[in-house]
Symmetry: C2
Subunit: 212 residues, 2 copies
């Protein structure tokens, strides 16, 4: 174990196959040459950009099955584990044998980023948190029940909020009967009314909850 990373080695050719990261361990850093691509086996990963004064923006969360680290030249973000995670690692070379697949992946990332721009630019705190929950619910593949693999602060930095505001928005949604917050650490969320939550996320004006 070095720096929070455990390395697994293939018995066939000695190449590294997987690595285990503990919470907050760095997988790659912004500006490093993009020599490897990664896939989440278990746990979760955040990709982060920092401003010089420490302000922090999470661009994406990667969940089991997700591929990341495909970039033109150097990594544009720092990637860190949000919890104990196992990650597959591969050289980037073989990826570029299959250009159409890579294009597909990059395009999907672009669409995600463009939706993120709309979210950050024009949605309020409750809408942001709701969008986040609906997205996680879809991607975690366990309909209406989700165990969040990241902290309130990670969520806040993803949504351009503070961790207190994320907590307060969740409290509003709970008090409105739209979801339940369970578990000793408050990370188990049960969605009771998916329809209404989806409307909130889409800002259709059907409901209009307020923080205060």
């Amino acid at each position: 174990v070095i720096d929070g990373v455990t390395r697994g080695v293939s018995t066939i050719n000695g190449a590294t196959l997987w690595r285990k990261y503990r919470r907050d361990a760095e997988i790659f850093g912004e500006g490093e040459p993009a020599n490897s691509v990664y896939q989440v086996m278990s746990g979760a990963v955040r990709t982060v950009k920092l401003l010089p004064d420490g302000r922090r923006q999470v661009a994406t969360f990667l969940l089991p099955g997700d591929i990341f680290g495909i970039e033109r030249d150097v990594y544009q973000h720092t990637a860190e584990a949000t919890m104990k995670s196992t990650i597959w690692v591969a050289g980037r070379s073989k990826l570029f044998a299959e250009l159409p697949d890579v294009l597909e992946l990059v395009t999907r990332n672009l669409e995600h980023a463009e939706n993120h721009v709309l979210l950050l630019g024009r949605q309020n705190a409750i809408e942001k948190v709701t969008v986040f929950l609906i997205e996680m619910d879809r991607r975690l593949q366990s309909p209406n029940v989700l165990t969040l693999p990241m902290s309130r602060r990670d969520i806040a930095d993803y949504l351009g909020l503070t961790h207190e505001t994320v907590t307060r928005a969740l409290a509003v949604l709970r008090r409105s009967g739209l979801l339940g917050i369970n578990g000793k650490t408050g990370r188990e969320i049960v969605l009771y009314h998916r329809r209404e939550l989806t409307e909130l996320a889409g800002a259709t004006g059907a409901l209009d909850l307020k923080l205060v």
Copy 2:
């Protein structure tokens, strides 16, 4: 002229070569099949997403020379002229003969969107406006003097602000002696201190201007 669009026709095979759009004319709409790709000849274009209640987010501005409309399946934004503009149009087919070039373009768009996410999520009004000016200054290729090809409202919707806040931020920068606002319509901006503006944009903490 139909719907604010004038069509030019090739004398060779009858295919449309260019179109002229007046201010606010739609070039393509979100959700339409992405059958054509475009290049700005003159003028400027914004790509926009709308929320059901009318809130509006500008994703990008396209300036002369820029190519846009390359998408997987359907357009993810509506594209509109911000002023009288001339646009080249081509069928998408020939583009996909050159996959690496397309990948390059999509990747550049992705990097722009990721930077936009950081801007919207974690920078304040003055930083946002400064980032915008530095970006336009670079892309318009007329060092330190720029004629903005879009309204304050377009800028505001790009930066996740209101048009009043954009005006106020520009006034602060002008009163600080960092730039001049000229021309009868206030769209001619002269950057006096590029170094300081760049630092403001990067949030290095060197200067700290306030709106009020």
